[in-house]
């Protein structure tokens, strides 16, 4: 996302995107106050001109949030909920100057070759993102096909029936405390609807309709892939995302209907002061496939377990996850697969790396409901611990209520092999270069699934992480 799409070459599909205009909208200034109560929630809803049902939903969710206890597992969460801004208008962040941005962040932009204009945006210094990427024609092309691709706020206003049909049906506010929080104060995020049979050939990126709000704390994304349709959505970027607000709690709901296919790719590299607590869940119906590709490189603490619920025969769920935890970081990441019908297949591949005192955990659930005969599911979780200061944990949960199933779980923990290091060094690579090459090889199963520009950035970012100079 951070590379200027207009400068990409040769690949025809990506070349097409060059002709799209990118437009932004301006909004009135709104100054919120810190803290969370029903008045703030009402203000948020009013600012967005929402219909009454959404306001009611938010208020009910607020109550649920307030009544739920903090989770007793996962990472340590030190948040004073009353000391946070829950709604930041884009223009609010114009107050931040480039000088205030940490030097380490600036250095990383430099090293990743991020264009000047993007740096200020990513650092939250500029509200609007000016880019040569053209977005307007993209909208026309897609809407000619009947595809809806907009931000969720607009979708609530412009497609109320469609939104209302699906919104919070996959992740209700009662699901967990942070889903309830998001449900009360959500803002931004993507809404996508793909009509039956429509296959979108190039990845849709959050980047295309970006504004400061949508990179915000409480994004709410809803994607509906109708029968036989196909979509690949890419969210996030490898450049570090800097934010003064330290709590980010997104919710992503995805419905993949009969015979449809959806892939949702995330590369998250939030700055090291951020709590990134996310609920992501997809439901796959008959012969539908859902793939999560999840890269977690940043943040102080990430808790995220992309899930696929396979509800009808022939459904398939795949989750490919990597987590890199450096100094002061805890990646508590994983996956959930629920086999709720016979003849479904699932796969989880998790790769985690810890370095310099970082802590990387795999937390995963494979659940096979009664009656889900002929379930086939495989979990592979590999951990690479780069030094004796660092830590890796595995928390696999397997709940099987059916006999006629095949469920496998493989786990490995390793350090960089002495023999491998020696071999690469004997070919002229320094120890550091050899280690980086081995680590990049370790995450290759995920990297090869990324769109090319992400893959290149990902490898470069790993290199920087290995050098220990990333902010």
């Amino acid at each position: 996302m951070a590379t200027d799409v207009a400068t990409l070459s040769s690949n025809d599909q990506i070349g097409e995107i060059n002709k799209y205009d990118f437009r932004t909208e301006s909004e009135a200034v709104f100054k919120a106050r810190r803290g969370l109560d029903s008045e703030i929630v009402r203000q948020i809803s009013e600012m967005k001109n929402e219909p009454p049902w959404m306001l009611d939903f938010r208020l009910k969710s607020l109550e649920i949030f307030q009544s739920k206890p903090m989770p007793s597992w996962g990472g340590k969460i030190n948040i004073n909920f009353q000391d946070i801004y829950y709604y930041l208008k884009p223009t609010d962040s114009q107050g931040r100057s480039w000088d205030e941005v940490p030097q380490a962040i600036k250095d990383t932009f430099e090293k990743l070759g991020i264009p000047e204009a993007e740096r200020k945006f990513l650092a939250g210094v500029k509200a609007q993102f000016e880019s040569e990427v053209v977005y307007g024609s993209l909208k026309e092309d897609l809407s000619a096909k009947g595809v809806i691709f907009t931000d969720t706020d607009s979708a609530v206003r412009e497609y109320p029936d469609l939104v209302r049909q699906y919104f919070s049906t996959i992740i209700p506010p009662e699901d967990n405390k942070f889903a309830a929080l998001n449900s009360a104060v959500w803002s931004g995020g993507s809404f996508i609807y793909v009509p039956p049979g429509v296959k979108i050939e190039f990845p849709l990126q959050a980047y295309f309709r970006i504004n400061a709000e949508s990179m915000g704390q409480f994004e709410r994304t809803l994607i509906i892939v109708d029968e036989g349709a196909e979509i690949h959505y890419v969210e996030g970027c490898t450049a570090p995302m800097y934010s003064t607000e330290s709590l980010h709690s997104a919710v992503v709901e995805i419905i993949v209907k009969r015979g449809a296919r959806c892939r949702y790719t995330t590369i998250q590299n939030w700055a090291n002061n951020i709590y990134n607590l996310v609920t992501k869940r997809a439901v796959a119906y008959r012969d539908a496939t859902m793939e999560w590709v999840d890269g977690n490189l940043g943040s102080h603490l990430t808790m995220k377990y992309p899930a696929v619920y396979m509800m009808e025969p022939g459904a398939r769920g795949e989750i490919l996850s990597i987590a890199f935890a450096g100094a002061g970081q805890h990646q508590d990441a994983g996956a959930k697969l629920v086999h709720g019908a016979p003849h479904t297949t699932g796969q989880i591949i998790s790769k985690s790396i810890s370095k310099n005192g970082g802590r990387s955990s795999y937390r995963g659930l494979v659940k096979v409901e009664q009656g889900a005969k002929n379930t086939k599911c495989k979990v592979v979780c590999d951990a690479l611990i780069l030094d004796s200061k660092s830590r890796s944990d595995t928390y696999p949960y397997i709940e099987i209520a059916e006999q006629d199933v095949s469920v496998g779980h493989e786990a490995s923990v390793s350090r960089i092999g002495e023999e491998q290091l020696f071999y690469l060094m004997s070919r002229g690579l320094s120890e550091s270069e050899a280690s980086t090459m081995i680590v990049n090889g370790f995450i290759e199963p995920l990297v090869k699934e990324l769109p090319m520009e992400y893959a290149v950035e990902m490898n470069r970012l790993i290199q920087l992480q290995m050098e220990g100079t990333v902010g």
Binding site: G417, E419, Q420, F422, Y423, L424, M425, S426, R427, G428, L429, S430, E431, S432, E433, A434, M437, I438, N440, G441, F442, I443, E444, P445, Q463, E467
Partner: protein
Amino acid sequence: MYEITQGAIELNGRDLVELSADARARAGLFMAFQRPVAIPGVKLADFLRHATTNMRHPDRKEGEELLPMREFRRELKAKMEHLRMDMEFARRYVNEGFSGGEMKRAEILQLAMLQPKFAILDETDSGLDADAVRLASESIAEFGREKMGLLIITHHDKLLEHNPPEYTHVMLGGRIVETGGVELAHELHRQGYDRIRKTYPEADARNRAMADHETLLSV
């Protein structure tokens, strides 16, 4: 693991003993392993490009530019063709799932690309069929002979067909017991090691003791 108790290992007058593995490589030393380790997820081409860059620019700092892709690819293609390797092979992960023959050829490919000053080939013919051995022999001649120092460790003579040695060293019981020219190699191939064992009985005894020790260890 071995501990060096005395002596020096010099390459063009430079002592390699205290150097790190990568410093030795940049000084010009190369070894083709008998069973090289796999590096999962790392494509052969990427690894080769990086290694070749470092060998041609020994002062290169980490993160600096690699060899330009086009040039590199051209050179790699030519050398792979000579080794009868499909270009697809360059996309495979280093040594992962390689057959014995593929491993050996990949090692020779590295030798061809890295162009060391001195290469040690450790049983580069073991486990190969006759055609593969002949190809290995020819390739070593093409890429190594007259271009660098070559130390070929072998039990057969097929590699020597295209690479007649200047010196032949016979090792027995952990020591070099005899050194000769090309005719020594021919003699050993024709007549075996009986004469050697008779001529150097202490070495022979040591050799047998070492073999027993190995048997004990493997039990």
